[in-house]
Every structure is written in structure tokens, then in C-alpha cells.
């Protein structure tokens, strides 16, 4: 049993809120337990001439940590998120425009990268940006005593032998992004991969429910 009474293969309680910000074209908050990230999507909108691309939209991502301006680690996260966004958004539909995606960490209790990935998914859906698939992300870790844990918290991460971030495509079931650190064997990686793949399916179910809830609420108003 883990400190927060979860089983090894369960994620923390997920929470989400769509359309959090009134001035953004699309926004969403996503929570894994106490970890929480807010994501705002703006665009397609006018682009600076320097960044203008002739055949596709320019996608700009900024990731702001809880405190300060951020370090090289935040730039690595930014790069990962930017690459995922570029892969998923059908950018050829909006040439010579910009789509800006901004992240703000609200609370950090581990697995912050995948929390941000999931927040981005919901915000992109909320903004109505054309996408060629949906995705979901989850973090796993291998404990120094060999246990495989899903969605670790900060306390658990201190005793990690290796940490794996996975992002899975919902349609093909392929892995679109991984970022893992620490030392591990092939078997440990395979185990993490299987576990993350299953978890992503359930997270994806959560996305569907969240979007459905939002649409029903909007239609109810009319």
C-alpha cells in the first residue's frame, strides 16, 4: 500500500475544468491529486513576421513553473510539449498564423510533465483547434525496492530508481512521446509501458466524460 492508500497501479483522483479563463480561446485545468496545471490556448492568430511560416501555423509553447522564471528543466518540458503539439495539431490548415499554448503550474506534487500534457489535451479540445488525434499521458516509476508505481507523488519520487513519462495516442495506441530518467532494465521498461498504456486508456475515458459534461452544460444553458 502507498502512503496515500492507493494501489500500485492506480492513478490519483483526476480533476479537470474546461474554459477556466474567459479571455483565452481555450483553457483547461487538469489535476492528478495535488498536482495541478493550467493550460491556455490562443489562436490561430496574427503572427510576427519573423516567425511566420508559409505552409503551416507557428506553434509557440511557454511553460511557467510554480515559482521563478524556470530553468533548463522547464525548457526541456517546453520542448516536449511543443513537439507533441506540433505532431497533433493539423497546422497546415492555418498557414501564416500562430497558435500559442501557455502553461502555468498551480501545484506541484510529482508527475508534473504528464499533468501538463493532459491539461494541453483538454485545452486544445476546448479551443476547437483542429487535431488529427487525441492523446493522454501518465508517469510511472520504478522504486528502489523494485515496485512499479503509477503516477508517483513527490515523496515517492525521492526513492525512485527510474522515472518514465509516457504519452500515448488514443487512436493507434502508439507511444508518441517518452522521457525517462534513471537506470532500468528492458523488463522494467516493458512493464512501465504496459501499465502506462492501460492507464492512458482510462485517462482518455475521463477526457471524454469531461468534454461531454461541458457540452451538456452549454446546451443546457441555451
Amino acid at each position: 500500500m502507498r502512503p496515500d492508500q492507493r494501489t500500485n497501479t492506480s492513478v490519483r483522483t483526476m480533476g479537470s475544468g474546461l474554459g477556466y479563463l474567459s479571455r483565452a480561446d481555450g483553457s483547461a485545468k487538469f489535476q492528478f491529486g495535488k498536482s495541478s496545471v493550467l493550460c491556455a490556448v490562443n489562436g490561430p492568430m496574427a503572427v510576427k513576421q519573423r516567425d511566420e511560416l508559409m505552409d503551416k501555423a507557428y506553434i509557440s509553447v511557454s511553460f511557467t513553473p510554480l515559482v521563478g522564471k524556470g530553468t533548463t528543466l522547464d525548457r526541456l518540458y517546453e520542448r516536449i510539449l511543443e513537439k507533441i503539439a506540433t505532431l497533433v495539431i493539423i497546422d497546415a490548415l492555418h498557414p501564416r498564423t500562430m497558435i500559442r499554448i501557455s502553461f502555468q503550474v498551480l501545484a506541484d506534487d510529482g508527475s508534473i510533465l504528464t499533468t501538463a500534457v493532459n491539461a494541453m489535451m483538454l485545452a486544445l479540445l476546448d479551443a476547437g483547434v483542429p487535431l488529427n488525434s487525441t492523446f493522454a499521458g501518465v508517469t510511472t516509476m520504478v522504486h528502489t525496492d523494485g515496485r512499479l508505481l503509477l503516477d508517483p507523488t513527490v515523496i515517492e519520487l525521492e526513492e525512485a530508481q527510474s522515472v518514465h513519462n509516457f504519452v500515448f495516442d488514443a487512436i493507434s495506441g502508439n507511444c508518441i512521446a517518452t522521457n525517462s530518467t534513471g537506470v532500468y532494465t528492458k523488463e522494467e521498461f516493458d512493464g512501465s509501458y504496459e501499465l502506462a498504456s492501460l492507464a492512458c486508456q482510462s485517462i482518455h475515458g475521463f477526457f471524454k466524460a469531461a468534454v461531454k459534461h461541458k457540452i451538456e452544460k452549454e446546451q443546457g444553458k441555451e
Binding site: 521563478g68 522564471k69 524556470g70 530553468t71 533548463t72 525548457r75
Partner: protein
Amino acid sequence: MVDRKRIYGPENTSLIITEKKQVSFTKRERPLDNIRPLYFDLGTIPQASGSAFIEAGSMKIICAVYGPKQISKNQGVLNCDFKFAPFSRLERRGYAKDEQEKDFSLVLEQALTPAIQLENLPKSKLDLYVTVLESDGTFASLAGAITCASLALANAGIAMYDLVTGCSAGFIDNVSGLDLTEDEEYMAEGNLLTNKALL
């Protein structure tokens, strides 16, 4: 000020104390009017339009020319960027350019611009980057950089009136000598840099 765009450590670091060697020209191995033997290589950086590498003693300098690139000015422009690599000198230096490097960039630009036929490069600029990988004498590095840069320009196929070469000199106890090393420069009372095109 901590540079958060790189991996950083504590702010105050220092070298271990070693005694500076006392040097004079009497102990110098090569004659006073000789420079260190030189080794040149062209096209070291294939990604660039032109590049050159120069080695003299333990001094190593690499230079790349990019361009011509489009600018809105009608006359051609040469941009120079001079940098010591972080590990090139005794003390580690940061990545940000300091005053000396800015000054040397300007010297480089002034030395090379008259030699280039800029009228043949309408609406164009040339970007020239020099990195000193290992320095053995600050002025000797600048002199080497000038020579290296003009070779890189020739390698890039840029039309020039002439090749430009640089050489440093200095004097210790009122005796002057050519191409001083770092230890000699430390002792020298004055340093001089000349660059020359044949025409």
C-alpha cells in the same frame, strides 16, 4: 547573476593557488624575431560557407563564415563575433561575451572589412564567427584570429583584395620580441598588434 539558461553551480569559484612563473626573453627557446610554427586547415566546418582552423604552438583557433545573407542595406556588411571557448584559458570563462571579446570583435571587423570587395555583395552580409579553443597569449590569439578569419573568407569564395595576416609583439625589460606566449605576456610591459594586407 546566475545564468538560468544553462546548468549552473555556485557563484564563487576560484583557481587553486599556483605561483606564476618568472619569464624573461633570455630563457626563450625560439629567436626573438620568430613566430611559433603554424598549421592551417581549410574547410574544417563543412556546414559553413567557409571555415579555417589554425594551430600555433598550443594555441588553437577555429573560424567559420556564413553567408552571404540578405539584409536591407544596399552595401555589403561584415559582422564579426570573437569568442574564447569556456575552457580556452587558465580560468574558466562564462558563455556571455565580456568587454574584451566585444572589443576584439570590433578589431577583427576593422582589420578585415577593407580587404573584402563589399561592392560585389549587394544587400548582403557576412557573418564571421571565431572561437579560440585554446589560447596561449591574449594578443597572439587575436592576431591568430585575424589570420584565421581571412583564410576562412578565402575558403568561402568571397572576393578579396588580399589576405590579411596578424602578428603580436611585446617587450620585456626594453627588449622586444614577436608572438608572445601567455607567460611572456604576463611579464610584458607593453603589447602591440599589427595586421597587414600586402597591397
